[in-house]
């Protein structure tokens, strides 16, 4: 075990897999000599050279388009999109090509990529450095979507994502890139995709969160405990395919559920989660499911801490749901 933050844990996973598997390479804007704007790829260029750590032109569509070609050849490219807000020039390549390659070719061709990209607000980034676009990728059949909340999971889920046969959107919560610290296993370490984690056990209400908002949910749960409400917090880890069994098991126990996410509420992933819960655990519900989310607006600069569903917004929702 080594103390790491999320940046160093992801870096460790990339280095480990690039040593293990010569097919793996990274490409993106400033990922080489500079080591990435968040330093996630730091040192890889020196270790693996410019054939496997590629500084590209400033073109997300070109990055993903070329990465697809590399994957069709049989390499395992890990493109980095510098901020998920910049992913939209590549959205067509991801939606029309990456996600559909296996299906449209009857399984003859696979576009196996792991697209790494930082998500989320709270870093004073404003509209174009703060968004959480997970539901835009979950809605597209053919992509797995992963979002770790701890350094340990960041390493284990990234290694699992690279070895998974399907394309994966690997969303990195940038607000906790350095703030989240913890012990990370050395060497090979895999956290299976599709398995949620119970981050806190409790019996009165279930809180579902992922990424940076996990810590807000945990903080709200601690505050609720002081008021006599015991909250169970589930860290989804893999958003799609979602671990619905873990969610249903918790909701059957508590009968009450609050979903937290940064993205806008309407058609956000919370909407799907609440639908699934009502379909699969309706008779166990003691209260209406509640969503605590970002606003249905673009992401603001100055008022970002008002926009984000922080603990002070989660707590009343949690208490009201528990007492409904």
């Amino acid at each position: 075990m080594t103390q790491m933050n999320m940046v160093s844990a992801i870096n460790d996973a990339l280095r480990f897999e690039m040593k293990r598997d010569p097919r793996v390479l990274v490409l993106g804007e400033d990922v080489g000599k500079v080591g990435g704007v968040f330093r996630v790829t730091h040192g890889l260029y020196e270790e693996f050279g410019d054939e496997r750590v590629i500084d590209t032109p400033l073109s997300e569509g070109g990055i993903i388009g070329c990465a697809i070609g590399m994957a069709l050849y049989g390499l395992v490219p890990i493109p980095e999109i510098q901020f998920s807000d910049f992913i939209f020039p590549a959205y067509d390549q991801i939606v029309s090509e990456v996600a559909k390659m296996r299906y449209r070719s009857g399984g003859e061709y696979v576009s196996k990529l792991v697209i790494r990209t930082p998500v989320g607000g709270g870093i004073r980034g404003g509209l174009y450095h703060s968004q959480s676009p997970e539901s835009l990728f979950i809605h597209v059949a053919g992509l797995k979507v992963v979002c770790p909340a701890t350094p340990e999971d960041a390493k284990g889920l990234l290694l699992a994502s690279i070895r998974d046969p399907d394309p994966v959107m690997f969303l990195e919560p940038k607000r906790i890139y350095r703030a989240a610290k913890g012990d990370v296993p050395e060497g090979d370490y895999v956290v299976p995709l599709g398995k949620a984690r119970t981050a806190r056990e409790g019996g009165d209400v279930t809180v579902i969160a992922w990424g940076a908002m996990l810590y807000e949910a945990l903080a709200a749960a601690e505050q609720a405990q002081e008021k006599g409400v015991s909250a169970e917090v589930i860290d989804l880890r893999t958003l799609w395919p979602v671990d619905i069994d873990a969610i249903v098991a918790s909701v059957k126990k508590t009968g009450r559920v609050v979903v937290v996410h940064e993205a806008p509420r309407t058609c956000g992933f919370g909407a799907e989660l609440v639908s699934l819960i009502t379909e699969k655990a309706f008779l166990h519900l003691e209260a209406p499911p509640v969503r605590v989310t970002g606003f249905d607006t673009p992401f603001p600069y100055t008022l970002e801490m008002e926009y984000l569903p922080l603990a002070h917004r989660i707590l009343p929702a949690l208490l009201q749901t528990a007492q409904y």
């Binding site: 496997r52 388009g65 070609g69 090509e97 009857g106 696979v110 399907d166």
Partner: protein
């Protein structure tokens, strides 16, 4: 880098006779499928009639290990690169034997056995993919050249720019082959771009540019061979513009190639007859093939069918 150079036809390929036979087969198949579309037997058909010179010229300039990334109008390249006729027709009929399991409409096709990438619906998205494929092969020290083929309208899309730009920056062994038939949908090429010669766009990417008569398969063969040799020498990518005139029968590539190939008239007639019989027989068989099984609705979205899709199917 200078502007595009006009290429005149050079020495015909040693496979000239085969090239002619290929083109006769394409035209015969095209005629049959146009009719099947009119009869409502297949939902759509994107004809390549009058533009076979580009397909045949390019395919004959490539080696077996090279790859083609086509647009819908060039998927017949699969047939010229080893795909059985019956397998191609299974695609047009979307039947159980379709390699793609009936998932894509006619012309949106590819086949690994023919080293042809599967066609996408969004125009020009295959261009950077062809660049990435050749780039990856070079990384693996594998001797492969890729060719992306696209229409004139595709040069208006961002992905054309992305592909050409990456090909230039990384000196990728790839060929961007633009089949300029003067029209994209309803739009004449003058309303796509104010550039008079599309191949002159090579200047913007620091790659080579060639302009060639796309109605002449031998000229296309000459241009693609030159670009191919350049790629093999490590000199990077080439943008080729092959102009075609599908509505002008005086520029029919089959008429021209028939003269060039020098096949005696009687032999031509016999071969054409044999082609028609072969196509008719294969089409008839394809029409009777059953559709894909219902479970293919949910397979191949992921490698394994996830629980929610299994649930949805049942």
């Amino acid at each position: 880098m200078s502007r595009a150079r006009a290429v005149t036809r050079g020495k015909p390929p040693e496979s000239l006779r085969k090239m002619w036979e290929d083109m006769v087969l394409l035209r015969t198949l095209d005629d049959a499928l146009v009719q099947k579309q009119r009869d409502g037997k297949i939902a759509y058909y994107t004809s390549c009639a009058g533009e076979e010179g580009v397909i045949c010229g390019a395919v004959h300039a490539l080696r077996q290990q090279d790859w083609v990334f086509p647009s819908p109008r060039e998927v017949m390249a699969t047939l010229l690169r080893g795909l059985p006729l019956e397998t191609l027709l299974a695609h047009f009929y979307g039947s159980a034997d379709d390699l793609q399991k009936g998932r894509q409409r006619p012309n949106f096709f590819g086949a690994k056995i023919a080293r042809v990438a599967p066609v996408s619906g969004t125009i020009s998205s295959h261009i950077p993919q062809a660049v990435g494929y050749a780039w990856a092969a070079r990384k693996a020290k594998d001797d492969v050249v890729t060719v992306s083929i696209f229409g004139d309208g595709a040069t208006s899309q961002g992905e054309f720019h992305n592909g050409a730009n990456f090909a230039g920056v990384f000196k990728v062994p790839t060929i961007l082959l633009c089949r300029n038939n003067g029209r994209a949908g309803s739009m004449p090429v003058a309303q796509q771009t104010k550039v008079k010669v599309l191949a002159d766009k090579c200047v913007a990417y620091g790659i080579d540019g060639l302009l060639v008569d796309g109605s002449d398969a031998i000229s296309v063969y000459t241009a693609v061979s030159e670009a191919h040799a350049r790629a093999l020498r490590g000199e990077g990518a080439t943008l080729i513009e092959a102009t075609t005139h599908p509505d002008d029968s005086s520029k029919d590539p089959l008429v021209r190639l028939s003269v060039d190939a020098g096949v005696p008239a009687k032999e031509q007639a016999l071969f054409l007859e044999a082609c028609r019989a072969r196509v008719a027989e294969a089409v008839e068989r394809s029409e009777k093939a059953p559709p894909p099984s219902r479970d293919t609705l949910v397979t191949d979205v992921f490698q394994n069918v996830p629980a929610h899709l299994q649930e949805a199917l049942s």
